[in-house]
């Protein structure tokens, strides 16, 4: 299998925040923590674009590179996960992430800043698949249930695609060919490009 990837189609996203709601409900994410957010560019200006942003599970994840306690790991499917039992809530990953994915609960182990929480691609954490311990720390493990992330499956306009990189790229390519525009995939190059993740895009690049 190819790597698991997200694509957000800015031509389709209508800023309904259904993905955000689906994520919060599925994983019972606490107040103040948003694993997924919808960002609108040029809000209010004709031609505004919205994109749904969460952890992109980068090929060369900068969060993994900077973590001082090495709490991150990557699954065979390319999903970047972390171990909350190891996290010390230092926040380095938050500075390193180009997508603002790492979130910190305002009440937690370390007082005003709890252990880091982020999108798991609905793949849980190091605890046993589908266990109560896994759910309480990381949320549902939908991949182990043979399902795709709730945000993408819930998306009403199918702007947000998730799954095998080959499959979602093929779906997106077909769309671009049919409508003959909107080939820019926001964040794709940053997360999965040949350059190191977290580095600024090349001059004139869209992502």
């Amino acid at each position: 299998m190819a790597r698991m990837k997200f694509i957000c189609d800015a031509e389709r996203c209508i800023e309904c925040n259904g993905c955000v709601t689906a994520c919060k409900n599925e994983h019972e994410v606490p107040w103040g923590v948003n694993r997924r957010r919808v960002v609108t560019l040029n809000d209010g200006v004709p031609g505004e674009k919205s994109i749904s942003v969460a952890c992109m599970h980068c090929s060369d994840a900068p969060c993994m590179a900077v973590c001082p306690v090495n709490c991150f790991y990557k699954t065979d499917e390319g999903v970047v996960l972390h171990d909350k039992d190891v996290c010390i809530g230092c926040g380095y990953c938050s500075y390193a992430c180009p997508f603002g994915a790492p979130q910190f609960p305002s009440q937690g182990t370390f007082g005003v800043r709890g252990k880091m929480d982020k999108c798991t691609f609905c793949a849980g954490g190091p605890e046993a698949n589908g266990s109560q311990a896994e759910f309480e720390k990381y949320g549902r493990n939908r991949l182990a249930e043979g399902k795709l992330p709730a945000c993408a499956e819930m998306c009403s306009t199918k702007a947000l695609l998730a799954g095998d990189g080959d499959v979602v790229a093929d779906i997106f390519r077909n769309r671009v060919l049919k409508r003959n525009k909107g080939a820019e995939v926001w964040g794709w190059g940053t997360a999965y490009g040949s350059t190191k993740a977290g580095q600024p895009a090349k001059e004139g690049g869209k992502s």
């Binding site: 299998m1 698949n129 589908g130």
Partner: protein, 77 residues
């Protein structure tokens, strides 16, 4: 007398060992692969069409789900 001393020393050593730090291990985590399924957890929410432990069938089930659920051109055309 010496037996009492030895046994007291043993108790003291056992008592002190409880004060030791817990082992802290860092490094690569072991996480069960998703295709192994949810194990003993309730299976009410598991999507059918694949067999737990069979990676190929799991991958195929996800591909089918992605196409059926996300490729609306395939649904309408």
């Amino acid at each position: 007398m010496s037996k009492t001393i030895v046994s007291l020393a043993l108790v003291a050593v056992c008592g002190l060992s409880a004060c030791m730090e817990k082992p802290q291990t860092l490094g690569t985590k072991s996480d069960a692969a998703p295709f192994t399924g949810t194990g003993d957890a309730p299976t009410a929410f598991v999507n059918g069409g694949w067999k737990a432990g069979d990676k190929t069938s799991w991958e195929q089930a996800l591909r089918t789900r992605a196409q059926a659920g996300q490729n609306d051109y395939a649904k309408t055309n």
